[in-house]
């Protein structure tokens, strides 16, 4: 294990009865990294996070947190994580200060340092001024922040946040994202969400999970590369025959669109833009539009998680839904 690998997950799987919610998932989280965990509803995001946080026992596989095996040495492993579940575990009848003090005590923060730990967490989550208010009377956004404060009060190396921005207004979402980025500088953060722009805004690495399996594990830069897919969109006033474009060097295929535009797919290393431009002028095709094709994260997500794609990829393993339908 490398020096700064914080969490190592190997061949994790989990059954609910006959239903396999997570199958054979492996990944790692390094220090100073925000890992975005994406997937449609019911894909196994929450289950995976519950397992890492020790709330759920895995059916198979291992979780190692900062060198401690979660199953063999749960106490040491759990002291290295802070966890915010989908629904923040807040005691509504306590004040924010009382609650955070309790969380600090539960996580073995020494008595002398609790006040400082509490102030620090409140400072980072923008909770000054509400310390003496009852949690039950706070707005949803503030409750969410208390939830995050709870997860970071003992300065754990690993912070696990399950859909931290659900139900917040846009300004609060921006603040929480900034906070997550901030956390990602020193801690390792796992963030689950189904909001795609959130991943692009906050994460260093993206994982997409579908039907319990990891279908993508890529850094944000790698993803950018993915998204600049090898294609061009062109439009002509006097379009040439499709074959004449297909014969150009590097072009793999040409697909005409209904509106007269054409998609040209080419080899990644051989961009035919120059040639097309030159030909268009020479042969008077009347070129009026040419732009690189670009997949959005959403397209990649759809591609990887729609049933057709998933079934193609995993044709060897019968899909869960197929087993369940009579």
């Amino acid at each position: 294990m490398s020096h700064n690998t914080l969490v190592e997950i190997r061949n994790l799987s989990r059954f609910y009865g006959a239903l396999q919610a997570v199958r054979d998932v492996s990944f790692t989280i390094r220090q100073g990294e925000v890992l975005g965990f994406l997937g449609p509803n019911g894909a196994g995001k929450t289950t995976t996070m519950q397992i890492i946080s020790g709330n759920l026992a895995p059916s198979g596989g291992s979780v190692t947190i900062a060198g401690h095996d979660l199953l063999e040495d749960p106490r040491a492993a759990k002291s290295q994580i802070g966890y915010l579940p989908e629904q923040p575990p807040l005691y509504r009848e306590l004040t924010v200060d009382e609650y955070l003090d309790y969380c600090a005590a539960l996580n073995h923060v020494p008595r002398a340092q609790r006040l400082q730990a509490r102030d620090n967490a409140k400072e980072r989550c923008g909770l000054h001024g509400v310390g003496r208010r009852l949690i039950g009377n706070l707005s949803k956004g503030f409750q969410q922040r208390v939830g995050i404060a709870q997860a970071i009060i003992h300065l754990p190396p690993v912070v696990i946040l399950d859909e931290p921005t659900v139900g917040l207004d846009p300004i609060q979402i921006r603040e929480i994202r900034a906070l997550i980025r901030e956390l990602g500088k020193e801690h390792g953060v796992i963030l689950s969400t189904h909001i795609l722009p959130e991943v692009q805004a906050t994460c260093d690495r993206v994982q997409i999970i579908n039907k319990g399996e990891l279908v993508l594990n890529e850094s944000i830069e790698g993803l950018e590369h993915h998204m600049k897919s090898a294609s061009l969109t062109v439009a002509f006033h006097r379009p040439p025959a499709q074959e004449s474009l297909e014969k150009l060097p590097g072009v793999k295929s040409v697909r005409p669109e209904k509106d007269g535009r054409m998609h040209i797919f080419h080899e990644a290393e051989q961009n035919p833009t120059d040639i097309i431009l030159r030909l268009a002028v020479d042969k008077n095709w009347g070129l009026y539009e040419i732009r690189p094709g670009r997949l959005s994260l959403e397209q990649i997500f759809m591609e990887l998680t729609t049933d057709a794609a998933a079934d193609d990829v995993h044709a060897h393993a019968p899909a869960i839904t197929a087993e369940l339908t009579p």
Binding site: L56, A57, R75, K78, L90, L106
Partner: protein, 249 residues
């Protein structure tokens, strides 16, 4: 760490009106019973004075008071224990404890200890009533100690059963009614087969039969062991049940 959970549990009890109203109602009813029993003693005092080896003040007032207290608390303890785990499960706050570096044993013992602290307060307030007689009379302190030890053991058993029932469900009312049912059943087990002479195992299991000797001032270690066994059994069951939460789906 157990103490952290216990103190939080204890303080949280007093954040809701439930604990206060329980303390008030129990005190009111037992105060009334205590005074009426005292009245009886005053009424018969002249006759008692004339008798040889007549029962003393403590013997007349205390067993009756503690016997009634046990029945009332049989109703009340389930109300205290019902929220222990059921409410946390319902509000999904259990995740806080599960993801903290705590073992299941620590969680269960912490919660149990929190309730015991509260029951100790309750017990102290009940004890103040007979103790107030010390101002004007002498008491059989040995009998009193034995009686209160019995009540303490009994309440600890009630709490353990209640805690277990609370781990079974996410509905506090279900937890309350099932622990009440279980306790009542344990209480009345000795009603069955009263005619058969001795060796009735159902009657042996009855909580009541292991409480009565304490009230008569008899400390039998077998009775104490019965209570301890009951407590340990239900605590272990609670730990197992919470562990199953993590394993099951």
């Amino acid at each position: 760490m157990i103490l952290t959970v216990a103190l939080r549990e204890f303080k949280s009890l007093f954040l809701s009106p439930l604990a206060w109203s329980i303390l008030a109602v129990v005190q009111l009813i037992l105060g009334f019973l205590f005074l009426s029993r005292l009245e009886v003693f005053q009424l018969y005092q002249p006759q008692l004075m004339a008798m040889d080896s007549a029962p003393g003040l403590t013997e007349i007032v205390l067993p009756d008071l503690l016997g009634n207290a046990a029945v009332i608390l049989l109703l009340v303890v389930p109300l205290l224990t019902m929220r222990l785990v059921a409410e946390e499960r319902r509000n999904r706050t259990l995740a806080l404890l599960f993801s903290a570096p705590l073992s299941m044993t620590e969680i269960v013992l912490g919660k149990y200890l929190g309730i015991l602290l509260f029951l100790l307060v309750l017990l102290g307030m009940i004890a103040l009533m007979p103790l107030s007689l010390l101002f004007g009379a002498s008491l059989d302190l040995g009998l009193m100690a034995s009686g209160f030890l019995g009540l303490a053991l009994l309440l600890a058993g009630f709490a353990a059963v209640g805690l277990f029932m609370s781990t079974l469900t996410q509905y506090t009312t279900v937890a309350a009614i099932s622990s009440f049912g279980a306790l009542l059943l344990f209480w009345i087990l000795d009603w069955s087969g009263q005619g058969t002479a001795g060796g009735n195992w159902l009657a042996y299991l009855s909580l009541f039969n292991h409480y009565k000797p304490f009230l008569e001032g008899v400390f039998d270690s077998a009775d104490a062991a019965y209570h301890v066994l009951l407590i340990v059994t239900f605590l272990v069951l609670s730990i197992r049940r919470l562990d199953a939460d993590r394993l099951g789906g």
